[in-house]
């Protein structure tokens, strides 16, 4: 049992032992606080074998002779630094007050074993405790405290080693005060203390050069203004009133657009606006003015002379802002230096890269927040639609930054202000107050942004819910769904009530003309129909057939699941499907658009069962020219469900000649001709990095390997017929409903998008890219071949794909007739019809087609242009999000696989350089399908015009250019603060960048 004692506090010294101060609460109330302080004589000095403190300091770490290796102090010395090797408590507390993360790092430093550092608690030692005098600033008070501690130490040393009679007094180590504050030094000298500035101290050290370099960034010997001076200043300019914004946008003085953050540089953003070819560049926080990714903002564009080029540099928010303190928004801290430095670099960079200049401006107001959008009341058809259409993401998946915590004590009950770092690099850190901070460290959490005040550097938010441990699959999966705003809730009762009451037992009723199910349906049950899909596919939307007609032509049919038979307009199920927009495929999970009963059973065109279908049947000439096309609702019975591989094997097996195999061969021949025709018309053969994840087993689902997807002839077979069906349907519904047909288009990319790629290709490889038309582009892409590097062509295709716009759904009446075209497919008109189970646009196309052939009247909502537009807006967004979610899921598993491999071996992969930065490289690892960044800590030469960087290594200069093949070391590193796993790449060939 430890000794329990009562600490006596002498009442007579109440001035020293009691402290009275006023503080302002969060709500702005001023309250008086009284605290007491117990002064003691047993605060150890930390010097080994000190005779005065022997009883209290068993673990004293400082050698009794002091440090002997500094030439200026031959008798040995101890260093007592001011703000920044005795640390006094005053210093520690001031650091803590200024920046918690810095304090936490300092604490770790003190604890490190090999450091001779002792924290002296001067404020609790009776001799050294001081009281703030009237009209004394906190800074001066602290300085005085440090001086007092210094003089006490000197005194203490001489007392602890009294001269022994008869012997000469041993030389006493000196306690040296280290401070950069001139005023403090002067006062100390007056008091007879030895003190030096950090620079002087380091200069006279033996190995001073290296240390001086580190000091270079530190300013001169002047007194640094305390953060309190700058307190509560507005950090951002005020927004203009909404009326002014709208008027400005109308008159053309301001421009409206959506804010895009730069994922490489958090201090840069851009806003694509209508008036300019290139997006408007926003440089620095002040000009971005609190805009968050996706906000609709109004920007003011500067005069052309102030235009800048984007800075090709990676500026990592986490690295630069690690000392920022969650508690005080107004503390400028050391980030200022970084920003200032950046600014000067901008000025430099303008000259060489004058050609890269783009309109530059600043945000003057937010028209609509992405995270706080104001719902407009609209004359929608039903209230349900309203909710769906204006659904916005306002929630972000985050991690807690552990160094921003005041206390990591898991039992702490107090509310803390901490930083949450969003998983997406496009979002700023969010400051939030929570009582659960310690338990949330290492978890993925959901955070909502509430507001962003002018005076606050970061937006403020609140904690919504924890998703689970970082790196746990459940948490990662859920966070992924939330991040991309995928609605993954279970289907509600109202929705499930829309399903057929028979459930799984529903069958196509026996043929009977009176039966509603058979109304206007063709009986195609005898046709030899089969489906070809990826392995493990459960939601089979499409099936095919082909047979020779007596006249020598060929009849080919595409049969699509008749989803619109089950999903009726204006029902809860329809609304939900519209809101979901699409089925989302993740590596290990599928989030359905329609309840599983429909998706994987009733609508799925499974083999050997009768199913309702919507058929497109062509009569094609042997040259694959369309002679006739008709559309009909039908009943089919698929004869078999193949995988691509099985179909391929069957087709290639010469020994087989049954009807089914013949039909596949027939389809394949036609598909080849169709493809030829398409290519001749100028369709693009684009590439995107697609990889496949092998899961170990169903239970553990640990990925064991990553491989690139293989494409077979049969993939192309299915693709061609689907394209044909979509085009035929698009023409039909466009003819019937010219105002409201649901179509899909791919706009030709603006030529400027290709400028950079063209320039790189020309300068690095001497190749040209003709972008005058899709046909020309396709042709010139075929020319971009490096005989020694087969993957080069794929790389160029990937990069070209990135220059293009994304395809989108649109309502035919909303855009000009001449913009209907699909650039990538080189088709004048296109829609989506073939996957109604997993895409909502297809359901709409089905309804329109059914109306077009007189099968059923068109629901009123599909006659309304504005209504169709609104639904398609949502579907477009969902579609984009679903793609990103799918990609992110693959990335996560690639990360896991890498981690697994990384544990066994160092992972070194081939990579292509795709971008050069002022301080790094962007590389693409084709085998893993991931992109990564290699950054250099050392200064490197960057040639923006020639897309090269030159790295000094071992005396020689190594130049790396875009398109160069390098080897990179891939690792998955866990961020210490946020616990966020991220792929880190380092160059291993031609040079090892780790040493740089």
């Amino acid at each position: 049992m430890p000794e329990i004692s009562i600490r006596k506090r002498p009442r007579t010294e109440a001035v020293v032992t009691q402290r009275k101060f006023f503080k302002k609460t969060a709500r702005g109330k001023v309250i008086k606080v009284l605290r007491e302080r117990y002064l003691r004589d047993d605060v150890a000095c930390g010097i080994h074998s000190c005779s005065l403190c022997a009883s209290q300091s068993q673990d004293a770490v400082l050698p009794s002779s002091g440090s002997l290796d500094h030439p200026s102090f031959p008798t040995g010395h101890f260093v007592l630094p001011d703000t920044n090797v005795f640390l006094s408590q005053t210093v520690m507390e001031e650091v803590r007050h200024r920046s918690l993360p810095l304090y936490n790092r300092l604490k770790a430093l003190v604890k490190a074993d090999d450091k001779n550092i002792w924290v002296f608690y001067n404020e609790y030692r009776s001799e050294t405790a001081i009281v703030r005098e009237e009209a004394e600033s906190p800074n001066d008070r602290n300085d005085r405290g440090i001086r007092k501690a210094t003089s006490w130490y000197n005194n203490h040393l001489s007392l602890a080693r009294p001269p022994v009679r008869g012997q000469s007094r041993p030389p006493l180590p000196l306690v040296v005060l280290l401070t950069d504050d001139v005023a403090n030094r002067q006062k100390a000298e007056k008091e007879g203390l030895s003190c030096v500035s950090v620079r002087r101290y380091v200069e006279s050290l033996k190995a001073s050069n290296e240390l001086l370099d580190l000091l270079a960034a530190v300013g001169s010997d002047s007194l640094e203004p305390t953060p309190a001076v700058a307190a509560r200043q507005a950090l951002y300019p005020e927004y203009l009133p909404m009326a002014t914004l709208l008027a400005g946008v109308k008159s053309g003085q301001l421009h409206q657009g959506h804010f895009n953050a730069n994922q490489y540089n958090y201090l840069e953003g851009s806003v694509p606006v209508a008036g300019f070819e290139k997006p408007v560049l926003l440089v620095g926080r002040e000009h971005m003015n609190r805009a968050v990714q996706g906000d609709a903002v109004a920007v003011e564009v500067f005069d052309e002379k102030d235009w800048k080029a984007p800075l090709d540099e990676v500026v990592d928010q986490d690295a630069n802002l690690k000392n920022d303190d969650a508690h005080d928004s107004d503390e400028e801290g050391d980030e200022e230096g970084v920003v200032a430095e950046k600014k000067t670099r901008y000025i430099e960079s303008v000259k060489p890269a004058a050609s890269g200049k783009q309109p530059t401006g600043r945000v003057v107001g937010i028209i609509k927040r992405n995270w706080r959008s104001y719902v407009k009341t609209s004359s929608g058809l039903s209230t349900v639609w309203l909710i769906l259409v204006f659904y916005v993401i306002a929630r972000y998946v985050c991690h807690i930054d552990s160094t921003s915590l005041t206390s990591t004590n898991p039992m702490s009950l107090s509310q803390q202000t901490v930083f949450a770092t969003p998983v997406s690099r496009l979002l700023p850190r969010i400051r939030l107050r929570t009582r659960q901070a310690p338990t949330l460290v290492g978890q993925k959490i959901l955070v909502t942004i509430d507001r962003w005040e002018r005076t606050s550097r970061y937006p403020e938010g609140h904690f919504v819910r924890a998703l689970g441990k970082v790196q746990s699959k459940e948490a990662e999966q859920e966070s992924l769904l939330l991040e991309f705003d995928v609605p993954y809730r279970p289907f509600g009762k109202a929705i499930l009530d829309c399903l057929p009451v028979e459930g799984d037992n529903w069958v196509v009723p026996p043929k009977n003309v009176a039966d509603l199910n058979w109304k206007d349906r063709e009986d195609l049950r005898d046709l030899i129909i089969c489906s070809i899909d990826p392995p493990g596919c459960q939601d089979i939307d499409d099936a095919l057939h082909a047979r020779r007609l007596p006249n020598g032509n060929i009849e080919a049919g595409v049969h699509i699941a008749d989803v619109s038979h089950f999903v009726h307009p204006d029902t809860p199920m329809d609304s939900e499907a519209a809101a979901r927009g699409t089925t989302v495929y993740l590596v290990d999970k599928r989030i359905d658009m329609l309840p599983a009963l429909l998706g994987t059973n009733l609508c799925s065109l499974r083999p050997h069962v009768e199913r309702l279908a919507f058929s497109v049947i062509w009569e094609l000439s042997p040259e694959a020219q369309i002679v006739d096309v008709r559309f009909t609702k039908s009943v089919i019975a698929s004869k078999s469900a193949f995988t691509y591989e099985e179909a391929q094997i069957r087709k290639d097996d010469r020994s087989l000649s049954d009807e089914l195999t013949e039909s596949i061969r027939l389809l394949n021949d036609l598909a080849k001709k169709l493809k030829e025709g398409r290519m001749a018309a100028g369709a693009l053969n684009l590439a995107s990095p697609e990889v496949k994840i092998h899961l170990d087993s169903a239970e553990s689902s640990d990925p064991i390997d990553v491989e690139q997807k293989e494409l077979r002839e049969t993939n192309s077979l299915v693709e061609e017929f689907m394209l044909l069906a979509n085009i035929s349907v698009a023409q039909k519904i466009q003819d019937t409903f010219p105002q409201t047909a649901v179509l899909r288009r791919h706009l030709p990319p603006p030529r400027t998008n290709f400028e950079k790629l063209q320039d790189i290709l020309k300068k690095r490889r001497g190749m040209t890219l003709d972008v005058s038309s899709s046909g020309a582009l396709a042709a010139s892409l075929d020319e971009c071949v490096d005989p020694s590097e087969p993957a080069f062509n794929t790389l160029v295709r990937i990069m070209a794909t990135r220059c293009m716009l994304s395809a989108e759904y649109f309502c035919s009446g909303s855009v000009a007739r001449d913009t209907f075209g699909h650039y990538g497919l080189a088709s004048p008109i296109y829609t989506h019809f073939t996957s109604p189970i997993r895409r909502y646009a297809d359901v709409l196309a089905h309804r329109q087609l059914a109306a077009a052939i007189g099968h059923a009247p068109l629901h009123a909502s599909l006659h309304s242009k504005s209504h169709v537009e609104r639904i398609l807006d949502v579907v477009n967004k969902r579609h984009r999000m679903a793609q990103m979610a799918g990609r992110a899921s693959v990335e996560f598993y690639v990360g896991l696989a890498l981690k697994g491999r990384g544990a066994k071996e160092t992972v070194i992969e081939d990579a292509f350089v795709i971008r050069t930065f002022r301080n790094g490289l962007g590389v693409f690892v084709s085998r893993l399908g991931i992109e990564g960044l290699v950054t250099f800590k050392r200064e490197i030469q960057f040639d923006a015009d020639n897309y090269t960087i030159t790295v000094p290594a071992d005396g020689q200069q190594v130049t790396i250019a875009v398109f160069d093949k390098v080897k990179v070391l891939v690792e998955v590193e866990q961020d210490k603060n946020t616990q966020r796993g991220r792929v880190v790449m380092a160059l291993s060939q031609p040079i090892d960048s780790r040493s740089l």
Binding site: M1, P2, E3, I4, S5, I6, R7, K8, R9, R11, Q18, K23, T25, K29, I31, K32, V33, L34, R35, E36, R37, Y38, L39, R40, V43, Q89, M92, R96, H97, K107, V110, K111, V119, Y121, E123, Y124, H327, T406, S407, N409, P410, M411, S412, L413, S414, Q415, Q416, T417
Partner: protein
Amino acid sequence: MSSRIEILNDGGFRSDGRKQYELRDVLIDLSQQGTADGSAQISHGLTQVLVTVFGPREAKMRSHTLHDRAVLNVEMSVAPFSTGERRKRSKADRRILEMASMIASTFEPVVQTTLYPRSQIDIYVHVLQQDGSLLPACINATTLALITAGVPLHDFVCAVTGGVHSTSPLLDLTTVEENDIPHMTVAVMPRTQKVTLVTMETRLHVERFRELFELACEAGQTIHKEMKLAVKDRTVVLVGAMDAGLKGVAVDDRDRDVVMEDRI
């Protein structure tokens, strides 16, 4: 500001310079308070409580008497100036009511109430300053006030708070500490070493509880020593005064007699 304070720093010091097992300065004043039969003012650091005891005396309301013992009536009031933020607290505040009822039930088995059937002992608790460990201060002051009033007790009741910061137990918590860490109050009877009150309202693991509980019981003994010393000192002063001369004291005694007569 409060979140800026480290509860226990690496040097083993708490925010006010104490170490883990050090209690705050205890100051006891047992001087006479007006017409009260017994009174005690105690401060644990900056927490200051004054308790006055009246009785045993005849109950004001007959319905509230018990035929076989005295009834303890505890009333508690918190001075508006006791905290930094001035706020008038009503006496019917549930926290205050609960604390009063806890004090009453703590002392019911300790006071030898059976000696005073059909009477009432009034205990008025005034909180003058608050800086954590309020309930222990009230209990300790009540013990002392009952002693100075000459009410027979089975034993002292000595209370103390304890808390756990991460895994380190702390004793005698200030407000800052109470707001941040799980804590409990324990009242012990030092002679029998028995516990008469334990309360805890925050989450704490059983093992930690055990550790802290034993420590707090021990700390009760330390408080007891201090309280006993104060009682002895006062007795010495009283005896000294009686010995010094009968004049001055006689007047007092006569007054006292009058009061006693009034009561009977």
